[in-house]
């Protein structure tokens, strides 16, 4: 997996900052989920906290990988452009990002099905990750698997909104719909740079909505 997507050159750096912002927001959500878990000792907040922690770590890794690419490209442009060295240097980081993000979404999807079965969780985690690692084209597969998981999660939040019909549940539903559409844009970003930018802005919208909901909950 050479690189995640085609990235327009002017967007270099902005994507690193956005991913860092996503990492921090998801880390804050994870922190509060663990606080709720500490208060209630229930498993759903624990799983929610774990899933957001994994997603946060994935964004930290992705941000670092993209930052490293920029640094490496700048160095190589000064000498001779060696894209191969960029690929080698970042392959491990990109795989780490993909696995952490998928693991985060699987944990979130597992939380929504309300089944307490560690063997099932292990199975859900293992199959997609092994398929990703063995696939000749893991990038497309990663975006497709994460899109399927996000559809599943978005349906859960749609049901949650229908059940409660509150502005806060609508915020979270919209956030996960944005994440889903953002992810679908990333599928096309492999060939078109513009989709990479749109995907990032949809993700930004999603995480800002999640952060807004968290602030509303804490402030009340």
């Amino acid at each position: 997996m050479a690189s995640l997507s085609l990235i327009p050159s002017w967007f270099f750096g902005y994507d690193v900052l956005l991913e860092l912002a996503f990492a921090i927001i998801t880390l804050v959500v994870s922190f509060f989920a663990f606080k709720i878990y500490k208060l209630t000792a229930q498993r759903q907040p624990k799983l929610f906290g774990i899933s957001f922690l994994l997603i946060s770590l994935s964004y930290f890794v992705r941000s670092f990988v993209n930052f490293a690419i920029i640094i490496k490209l700048n160095e190589d442009i000064c000498r001779v452009l060696k894209v191969v060295s960029v690929n080698t240097w970042n392959s491990f980081g990109i795989y780490a990002y993909v696995i952490l993000f998928i693991a985060g979404l699987i944990t979130l999807a597992y939380m929504t099905i309300k089944v307490n079965n560690s063997r099932l969780y292990a199975l859900l985690l293992t199959i997609p990750i092994i398929i990703l690692l063995l696939s000749p084209n893991p990038l497309y597969l990663y975006y497709i698997i994460s899109s399927i998981l996000l559809v599943f999660i978005a349906i859960h939040y749609f049901k949650n909104y229908i059940k409660r019909k509150q502005p806060k549940t609508l915020l979270v539903l919209t956030a996960f719909a944005f994440l889903l559409f953002g992810n679908i844009h990333f599928i096309f970003s492999v060939n078109h740079g513009l989709f990479y930018i749109i995907g990032h802005f949809l993700e930004l919208g999603a995480y800002l909505l999640i952060l807004t909901n968290l602030i509303l909950v804490i402030k009340k």
């Binding site: 949650n160 549940t169 909901n213 909950v217």
Partner: protein, 93 residues
């Protein structure tokens, strides 16, 4: 109460009943004030004891239950808990 109570709300009701009795109460009082069956009460009290929300005191007159700091903390943050759980779709059981 018309609406079926969820697990968090039942825990809240039990802890509130204990708090309203100055932090210590007999099981029979919890039974009717929290509107629970005997089986449910046993189940919930065992759960709350194992999670250190409540402690059981065995005295000459019988058993009483007291709130721990963790139990008081749960009550004070109940609105935050339900709001977080409700908005992020973390329904209990």
């Amino acid at each position: 109460m018309n609406i079926k109570r969820d697990r968090l709300q039942i825990i809240h009701d039990i802890l509130k009943v204990i708090r309203d009795k100055n932090g210590t109460i007999k099981p029979t009082h919890i039974l009717y004030k929290a509107n629970l069956s005997h089986q449910m009460l046993d189940e919930y009290l065992n759960d709350l004891i194992s999670r250190k929300f409540v402690v059981e005191n065995i005295e000459k007159k019988g058993k009483t239950y007291s709130l721990t700091d963790k139990g008081f903390n749960y009550l004070s943050k109940y609105n935050l808990i339900t709001d977080f759980i409700g908005s992020f779709g973390l329904d209990m059981d």
